[in-house]
């Protein structure tokens, strides 16, 4: 695209828009926004070279709060929209962000297929183990015995998904977990994720004080993984399963082939039209 000119902002806040977030006071999502802006500032990416794609949910509102290009699409389809964008525009840095409901419930199919497809983009699940936007229902990461949803008053009774394990099995080439209580740590992870070539998945533990007030306690439970990232699937799998889901850091990082559709083969429209001649 010939219009791409550099106009590099220098500080994180240059990546913020003027729109005031609708988030509740204390929502973890504020820290995800700040981590993203920090990561972009660190990488000195021109605003116009970045696109942030999201679905629907409190967390998915994030796109409008940045000053990069963005698409606030429909519920659960952000990864698909992003794949189309990246397919058409390799030159852009494509980020995708949204909630645990958006990404793992309604969007579950696109999640596993995006992992498998391994296109060069970064996906952040802002995980609060609840549907915030619709006022507090259980998501696929909610514990089976969480009783505060009127929709499932006896708890879901279902074992929660482990997003990192799902990503690993489905074929993601970069997997990390961060925490909004440590926005600088999250920003560092995001920098690494964006720099990674391939599909990078970051689970950001992002408390919902409104519907999951008990998550305010996460700051006492979160710790860093003892080991650094591995490129061995079995090791990564073991680590994820041995963990309680509260350890942070980059877990897995490897070099799977990066997918980008299309290959510039020789041809032109006239030649194609000639095929129609008898």
């Amino acid at each position: 695209m010939d219009q791409v000119k550099t106009s590099v902002p220098v500080v994180p806040k240059d990546y913020k828009s003027k729109i005031k977030p609708v988030w509740c006071p204390g929502c973890g999502d504020f820290a995800v926004l700040s981590a993203i802006t920090k990561a972009l500032a660190h990488l000195q990416l021109p605003r116009e070279s970045v696109a942030l794609i999201s679905g629907i949910g409190c967390s998915s509102r994030i796109a409008a709060y940045t000053s990069v290009y963005g698409f606030h699409g429909v519920h659960g389809r952000a990864l698909a929209l992003a794949a189309g964008l990246k397919a058409a525009r390799t030159d852009l840095t494509v980020l995708v962000a949204g909630g645990d409901g958006d990404g793992l419930s309604i969007g579950g199919n696109h999640f596993i297929h995006a992992c498998r497809r391994n296109m060069n983009m970064t996906y952040i699940i802002m995980d609060n183990e609840v549907y915030g936007m619709t006022k507090g229902q259980a998501s696929p990461t909610t514990a089976p015995d969480w009783l505060d949803s009127k929709l499932t008053p006896h708890g879901t009774g279902l074992r929660p998904f482990q997003p990192a394990a799902m990503a690993l099995t489905a074929g993601a080439s970069f997997i990390a977990r961060g925490f909004t209580g440590n926005p600088n740590g999250l920003a560092k992870i995001l920098v690494e994720a964006i720099e990674h070539r391939g599909f990078s998945f970051v689970q950001a533990l992002s408390p919902c004080p409104t519907f999951r007030p008990e998550q305010m306690d996460w700051k006492h439970q979160v710790r860093e993984f003892e080991e650094g990232p591995t490129d061995d699937l079995a090791t990564a799998s073991q680590r994820i399963h041995a963990d309680d889901g509260m350890s942070t850091g980059v877990i897995f990082k490897t070099n799977y082939p990066v997918f980008q559709p299309g290959r510039a083969e020789h041809g032109d429209l006239d030649a194609i039209e000639r095929e129609f001649r008898l």
């Binding site: 695209m1 219009q3 791409v4 000119k5 550099t6 106009s7 828009s17 729109i19 021109p46 605003r47 116009e48 070279s49 696109a51 942030l52 794609i53 509102r61 796109a63 409008a64 940045t66 000053s67 990069v68 290009y69 963005g70 698409f71 606030h72 699409g73 429909v74 659960g76 389809r77 698909a80 929209l81 992003a82 794949a83 189309g84 964008l85 990246k86 397919a87 058409a88 525009r89 030159d91 852009l92 199919n109 696109h110 297929h113 559709p261 299309g262 290959r263 510039a264 083969e265 020789h266 041809g267 032109d268 429209l269 030649a271 194609i272 039209e273 129609f276 001649r277 008898l278």
Partner: protein, 584 residues
């Protein structure tokens, strides 16, 4: 062959799995083309996935044809296994010819019941002694001669077809063809089928006979139209009968520096299309009824976020999984009204094979110019039948490309312009960053639930489509008279042929076929209907979807009737003629 020699022959070749009925039919159509004729071929298959019974249904004519005829002049059965499956589709007359190998057993009752004169030809025996020679090639020879064509073109075509694969098959096929060609039938098509035949087309309003012949099916036509319109990204999930459109596009997009992405499902396809289009690349998907049903939410996002997107729906029999391999015009309702909320968009339907190219190109250009969703309604009949027609000519008006924005510090994505079209910044453009949104928004793309913003944005999205000048392509009108046939899509060709027949019989009739279904153009149709005393609505739908659409958006002549019938059998010119002749 003399081009002035008017003839119009319909013939069917059937056979069980592997008998090669389709190959024989395809070759015969090409032979006709090389001999300066025009024609059309439909394929029909039994329910078995592969290797089941198949029928090649052909029409070969000295004049361009765009639909199948009412009945067949000749049926050649390579064998009779499950042949009754095709009894519905192959109507014979008492004077039709049935060619059958006596070794294949008795002619089945449903076929006998239709009448027709049986000629026994030992197709199997004639092929038996030829290495790699097969009865279908014998049949090809027989039919080539019957149609009055020489043997040379067929010989060349057989060689072209088989040689790259297997030299023995090539020579065996040639020899079998020659065996067949050596068999004179009692009568020849040239004598049987004269211009007096009701189905024979006339020179009037048809393109000239000479010049370049094009040979394609409707799916290829839509594909070419899409590429001509500028589509360079396609995301899709396979579905009958749209898969071959996608398979045709995939390598050709590669050639044009574009790409096709096979999606995990239709929900992904449509959203991928939006992503690519948001990125500045004209993008499209193709699907059929059930797939489009899954895309509707994403299509609504195209409308609300003002992202250009084209969806081709190659209609098949519904509802639900329905009859996937047969045609029907019953996704009209969904295309017009399937989106939730007030979601103005465009719906365009090609009227015949040639129009698949033009209408699809138009759809793409409109979608880009008006930054919204355009649905193209093709159907299985157009999509999977092959025509041999004069090189199509187009009369596409000039349509501006997508209106983009340069760098602008005060960029207003959804600005309230007069036309309703707002300049769109493409990612990469400095300063003009914005976030496209399916939530209602201000002109600056900020989410808003305010009544004024909602009203203004609804107005602009409606205005840009309603106020655009679509020119003359909105419909196609032919013929004269105060009786008018109103139709759309693939039934147009049958309606036009009915009109020609009625004209020949001294009953002038008009046919108006709507190409632009949304936005409705009631003033234009009122003009076009000037002087109409009565209107026959023709559509392939049990639920009269087109009729209800017409009533909802237009004023039609006081006296109207409807010929509405579901698939799977195509509506024929004869049915339409009958509806009109019975109406007094």
């Amino acid at each position: 062959m003399d081009a002035a020699d008017n003839f119009d022959i319909s013939l069917a070749v059937t056979g069980s799995g592997g008998a090669g009925a389709i190959t024989a039919g395809e070759l015969l159509l090409s032979v006709a083309g090389r001999n300066g004729c025009f024609g059309m071929m439909r394929r029909s298959f039994g329910p078995q996935i592969r290797g089941g019974e198949a029928a090649a249904l052909l029409r070969i004519s000295s004049q361009p044809v765009a639909c199948m005829n009412d009945s067949f002049d000749l049926l050649l059965a390579l064998d009779w296994r499950n042949a009754e499956r095709f009894a519905d589709e192959i109507t014979l007359r008492p004077d039709s010819i049935i060619i059958a190998d006596p070794a294949a057993g008795a002619v089945p009752q449903p076929v006998l019941d239709m009448g027709g004169q049986i000629i026994a030809v030992p197709l199997g025996d004639l092929a038996r002694d030829i290495a790699a020679g097969r009865p279908n090639m014998v049949a090809l020879g027989l039919l080539t001669r019957w149609l009055g064509f020489g043997p040379d073109e067929a010989g060349t075509l057989i060689t072209e077809l088989f040689e790259s694969r297997d030299a023995e098959i090539a020579s065996g096929s040639r020899l079998a063809f020659e065996q067949g060609f050596a068999q004179p039938l009692a009568s020849s098509a040239r004598q049987e089928a004269s211009t007096e035949q009701p189905g024979a087309p006339r020179n009037s309003d048809l393109p000239p006979l000479n010049g370049e012949r094009w040979h394609f099916h409707g799916n290829e036509g839509c594909g070419l139209g899409a590429l001509r319109g500028g589509i360079r990204f396609v995301a899709a999930y396979p579905i009958t009968p749209a898969s071959d459109l996608l398979e045709w596009l995939s390598p050709r997009l590669d050639q044009l520096n574009g790409s096709l992405l096979q999606a995990e499902d239709e929900l992904a396809s449509i959203n991928m299309v939006l992503g690519a289009s948001f990125g500045g690349v004209p993008a499209m998907t193709a699907t059929s009824g059930p797939g489009m049903a899954l895309m509707l939410e994403g299509m609504g996002l195209a409308v609300a976020s003002e992202t250009p997107a084209v969806v081709i729906n190659v209609m098949r029999g519904g509802p639900s999984t329905g009859i996937p391999t047969k045609s029907e015009q019953t996704d009209l309702n969904m295309a017009l009204h399937g989106l939730h909320g007030d979601a103005p968009h465009m719906v365009i339907a090609p009227l015949d094979h040639a129009d698949c190219i033009q209408a699809t190109e138009w759809a793409v250009r409109l979608s880009e110019a008006l930054q919204t969703l355009t649905i193209v309604l093709s159907d299985q009949l157009l999509a999977q039948s092959t025509v041999l027609i004069p090189k199509p000519e187009y009369r596409l008006p000039d349509i501006p490309p997508r209106c983009t924005s340069g760098p602008d510090p005060d960029y207003e994505r959804y600005a309230l312009t007069d036309s309703g079209v707002s300049p769109m910044a493409i990612p990469g453009t400095p300063m003009s960053t914005y976030v496209a949104d399916g939530l209602e928004h201000t002109s600056f793309a900020k989410p808003s639930a305010a009544a004024a913003d909602h009203a203004q944005q609804l107005d602009k999205r409606a205005r840009k489509i309603a106020s655009f000048e679509y020119g003359d392509l909105w419909a196609d009108s032919r013929g004269t008279g105060d009786t008018v046939i109103l139709t759309w899509g693939s039934t147009t060709a049958a309606a036009r042929e009915a009109v020609r027949r009625l004209e020949t019989a001294g009953h002038p009739v008009r046919v108006i076929a709507l190409r632009l279904l949304l936005p409705a153009r009631p003033e234009r149709l009122a003009e076009a209907l000037e002087g109409a005393r009565r209107v026959l609505i023709v559509e392939q739908s049990h639920g009269r979807q087109f009729e209800h659409y017409l009533r909802a958006y237009y004023e039609i002549a006081p006296e109207t009737r409807t010929l509405a019938r579901p698939g799977p059998l195509p509506i024929t010119p004869g049915e339409i003629v009958e509806s009109l002749t019975g109406w007094e």
